[in-house]
Symmetry: C2
Subunit: 215 residues, 2 copies
Amino acid sequence: MSCAPATLADFLPEIRDYATRQCFNRNETIFNQDDPSDYVYRILTGTVRLCRYMPDGRRYIVDFLLEGDLMGFVESPDMPATAEAVTDCLIQVYPRECFDQLARGNAAIRTQLLCHLSANLLTAQQHMFVLGCQRAKERVASFLLRLADREGLSCGDRLSLPMGRQDIADHLGLTIETTSRMISALRNEEAILIPNSQQIVLRDMGALRALAAEA
Amino acid sequence: MSCAPATLADFLPEIRDYATRQCFNRNETIFNQDDPSDYVYRILTGTVRLCRYMPDGRRYIVDFLLEGDLMGFVESPDMPATAEAVTDCLIQVYPRECFDQLARGNAAIRTQLLCHLSANLLTAQQHMFVLGCQRAKERVASFLLRLADREGLSCGDRLSLPMGRQDIADHLGLTIETTSRMISALRNEEAILIPNSQQIVLRDMGALRALAAEA
DNA sequence: CGGTTGGTTGATGCAAGTCAACTACGGTGG
DNA sequence: CCACCGTAGTTGACTTGCATCAACCAACCG
């Protein structure tokens, strides 16, 4: 059974009467790891990071969520990660119970839910390869390409990086200095241009793809 | 909604008449990345590795599957990874269409399917932390603890390692030499005993947990 | 202006990778 | 029974890629 063209988000308007909208400022926490899973979320505007914090303070950024993305659909009594606003965000919050009830009566939603989780799992596996096998410059190239793909960008387009260098580093398993150096290296090799630190022009996606070398 | 005590595997007997059993020798391929997702699998005996191969030959081992584990439930037209027998295996193979039909008529199965995918996703996120943040010795400790947990072992028990050092290395994003050195280091620190290279006695799980430092 | 925050760059150190030798074990056949 | 071989694991010597530590720069703002 393959995924239908509809997406999970298409069904959420059906329960919009039960939803609330919330604003979060940059770096504000949206929910905490181990909070009860009582809500599901949709990002209306802004960028969010999903983090896991370790007892010793180390942080790993599981993923970034962009405008339109959903979170909170993992089947677990507690949230497995903390969500924080990377930029100011507007977020639609749906009561979980309400969504579950909708899903119980609607097979198409359940199918989409499976697709959503499967897609997340595949993304995670892809990223495990990045962390397990790639070197620093390849990781940065993979990261830029993945963001570009999600935004539907192609060669010559301008990619905006709402997250800071430290966030990118924590997502790629690198330090902020190495991340910065590798971005500079890609500029020196003329694979990208850096009009300013928040934006990157994808000058040579072929070169980036050659580095990322993902199937 | 939390996961019921039943598991996905409990429902498979209902379609056992449509299943076949297949034997695979050590290192034999069970299915290939990009094969159509026409079957779901249950490991009856033996150990399996799920791998992703890259164009340049690098290999990443997504996970190991043990006796009783299931695979092939990701919602995708093609298999996202290759499955290979780590040891000689006996595997029950169910036609996917048959399972899907069962799931369509049974809400409990669908719930379990969501739990199964969610659990896989959480495992993947946990492992991303291992790859992104931990150093070599911590990774090996995490690996041993996870295997021990899955086998339900505790302090003093003997853990068997059906997979070779190279497999462990490819799962942890290390080289075979570093993996071997770290295992030796854990022996020298008296956290483990190594009666032979395929078995490990968990002498001091506290020390291992302190290294893994996972929540 | 000076202070603050986020990013870049340089110098140095170390953890893990690489290359290579050696050991242990399990067959297989003389 | 031992001699030989092939495979898998361990250990040592050396190299290197990234982390660390530290200085510097640019943008922004009171």
